[in-house]
Symmetry: C2
Subunit: 462 residues, 2 copies
């Protein structure tokens, strides 16, 4: 049971000698995405042929599935009027992306040749910032007046259906286009012709304002799990909808951004990212971390005397620093995800910090005891020290490990909570940042305890 | 322009004294998700009242928006026949989740009381493993015989519409339920009654087999950006569909898992996670990292002699180790995301590794020079050493930093590529793992270079 790859089949059809009519009806059997995947493998003349054969509806679907760079290239190959017609039939947000890839003159010429409706829709979407939800909407939705009968509504739907893909929910507006409510198409389909439309309309349907920030509303929109959520302007007029397909992309983008920030990148990168861009995206965090690293180094410098008296303890510095960083990173990841999904009360926040500390304490106790036993053995057997000396040092390591882990768990939770409080995206508290901050905690715990116990109290030297 | 919170309104309606008929028609104006959010704030008697007033269609929608734990609780409060009726009307995958929260006896009793269709659907979905795409499908879709006329298809649709929510794409099957193709509802709506159905059907429509792994097919499904993708069994019979709402959840889950793994957790956690579960999810990685940390420590131990001769160099160990870890984490995050989205050729993989090394080299050169200048100044001014001594040490730090960063960039790219090659999820190459591996690289570069240049060649002591 292998899933078929349609590419070979589609190529065969395109390269066969059948008549345009037959070829069209054969190609129309495939999904636009599968046809789009064949495009890069075609010669220019073949792509031109397809664009003559298929209708605009199909072509626009195909171009929506081609990435913007390639789409701009392919449109450049063909007659400019044809290109404008294809763009006019595409989803507005996809058109905006493709046009951005073109030289300014070509772009303006194309916009001029596009049809009025498409131009107007583009202007609406372009009026929103990239981080506002309005920039991700489509104007492709069915709008119906609220005071119609079932029969009138049905015929209004039939009129609009040819041009609109998102028909499973119908949106009701008043005369001046104010959002009134929504109705499931299935309810309209099964309704009796004479029953009043009003009964079918949900007037308190969820909606979103176009200028809300994506970050702020995405969790709410996800919860509704609807096919499409209406987008309103500030006068409550219906502008368009956010479809669940856009939601898939939005969730993917948002999580990708958070993922990137977590790893200490300022934004997501892909394979085609130019070298210079990649360097620019990574350098800022590295500079911050270098600065923090220097602070850690100067704190370690304070303990130079301790280390020179008891060199062996420096062997285990990296162990304690890393473990503190790891625990902090775990707590950070959990806290960021929790903050993303829910808004916490003060009490819940305190509980979260204590829970993270409890987890760190439990894991720290297990790892501390393990370290005590194993490192003591290691120092005693391989470093030529007495076992009293070995277990004094490893005891100090075990206790420092526990202490550093508990504090790191708290730090990894408190820092994102603090960022959230001051309205900074908690995702900027990246893993590397937490790791470096917790280095400080670990250095002070470890060398501090070593100085007190091993040097001042036990007078060890070695 | 504040988005309305409907909770207060809904509570008012429920607590008012209006007649059941009016109350129902008022509540039906709200979205199921908004009604669901009110449920925890109600008294048992109020919840019972709502369940008497609203129809099954609405109630099942509401229960789909309540989390499974709470839903099980609320169903327990009411008459068992009512509970079974609500479950029968819910999406099958949601029912499975809710039933899991109930004691075994209650669960079996409810299943017995559910209607036959719902029971059959549950059995189909339960037959798939959790990581197979079939476990996430819904049987709630319109299936139509392929040999009907437009008029017959329309009336078959009207018959099924009442029970099915996902109607924007219709799926065509042959007599024995073999998947034949798909059709947009909008095309059916605008088609002339006498035109043949065949012209409207896309026979090479994308599909997925129920037993494909979610990991393997999610990127492909995302590319189609369809409302629903048909799910087939191994005999090519149509079982159900994956809706784009499920896709939102799937993408969210997949990315969440990767995010968690990246931070060194074995799986995602949420706020309600019991302490014991949290400890279990974090301990495995911490144990692995402790083991690796001990290896790093014993390698550092090899350089104890170097450090005892020149204690000052140990102050900057954490700086070099952290920076190497950070660069490795950045490369890792980029590589994991690239591997998730695309399948790379051998040539592209080599290019990726070189690109990551080039980025690391550029950033490393900048940071190395900065460190050379600043750390030299610091040692000269604050550590009471000559500037020759200071810049010899800081030169060594700068070069080690550059070297460690370039190697770390390569390691952060090669390790996930290697995991992918041996068919292990590259996301297990978590940030903490890469950090610890790169510690080894950094320790050897730094102390190795210090030993060669500073002690063997320049004979520095201090």
């Amino acid at each position: 049971m292998e899933n078929k790859d349609y590419t070979v089949e589609i190529l065969e059809i395109i390269r066969s000698n059948t008549s345009p009519g037959i070829m069209r009806s054969r190609l129309e059997d495939y999904h636009a995405n599968d046809l789009a995947e064949v495009f890069p493998q075609l010669k220019i003349s073949e792509r031109r042929k397809i664009c003559r054969i298929l209708d605009l509806d199909m072509l626009s679907d195909i171009f929506e599935h081609i990435d913007e760079q390639a789409a701009a290239e392919y449109l450049d190959e063909m007659d400019i009027k044809k290109a404008a017609a294809i763009l006019s039939a595409m989803e507005t947000d996809a058109v905006v992306d493709v046009l951005q890839m073109m030289p300014k003159e070509k772009k303006n010429l194309l916009i001029e040749l596009m049809d009025d409706d498409a131009r107007k829709d583009m202007a609406i979407i372009a009026s929103f910032d990239e981080d506002e939800i309005g920039s991700r909407m489509t104007t492709n939705c069915i709008m119906i007046r609220e005071n119609l009968t079932v029969k009138q509504a049905m015929s209004s739907l039939v009129d609009q259906a040819a041009k609109n893909d998102n028909i499973s929910t119908l949106f009701m507006v008043t005369e001046d286009n104010t959002f009134y409510g929504a109705m499931d198409l299935k309810d309209l389909i099964i309704a009796r012709r004479e029953s009043p439309l009003e009964d079918l309309i949900a007037t308190s349907y969820p909606y979103v304002y176009g200028n809300e920030l994506i970050d702020d509303c995405i969790e709410r929109l996800k919860d509704y799990s609807e096919d499409s959520i209406p987008v309103l302007d500030n006068d409550n007029k219906l502008l368009g909808v956010i479809t669940s397909q856009s939601m898939v992309d939005l969730v993917d983008d948002e999580m990708g951004e958070d993922y990137a920030k977590f790893a200490g990148l300022t934004a997501e990168e892909d394979l085609k990212e130019p070298l210079k861009e990649s360097i620019k995206k990574r350098l800022p965090w590295l500079l911050v971390l270098l600065g923090l690293g220097m602070i850690v180094s100067s704190v370690v410098g304070l303990f130079e005397e301790v280390v020179s008296q008891l060199t062996i303890i420096m062997c285990f510095q990296s162990l304690i620093l890393d473990m503190a960083g790891n625990v902090g990173t775990q707590s950070l990841a959990v806290t960021i995800r929790v903050l993303m999904d829910e808004s916490l009360t003060g009490k819940q926040k305190i509980e979260l910090v204590f829970k993270e500390m409890k987890i760190a304490f439990s894991n720290g106790a297990i790892l501390g005891i393990l370290s005590f036993v194993l490192i003591g053995l290691y120092i005693g057997l391989f470093k030529g020290k007495t076992f009293v000396f070995a277990y004094a040092v490893s005891g100090c390591i075990g206790i420092s490990l526990l202490l550093a882990m508990v504090i790191s768990g708290a730090v990894g939770t408190l820092i994102p909570l603090f960022f959230k409080k001051i309205h900074v995206d908690p995702a900027v508290a990246s893993g590397p940042l937490i790791t470096t901050v917790n280095d400080l905690v670990a250095v002070i715990s470890y060398y501090g305890l070593s100085w007190i116990f091993l040097i001042n109290m036990m007078h060890l030297v070695g």
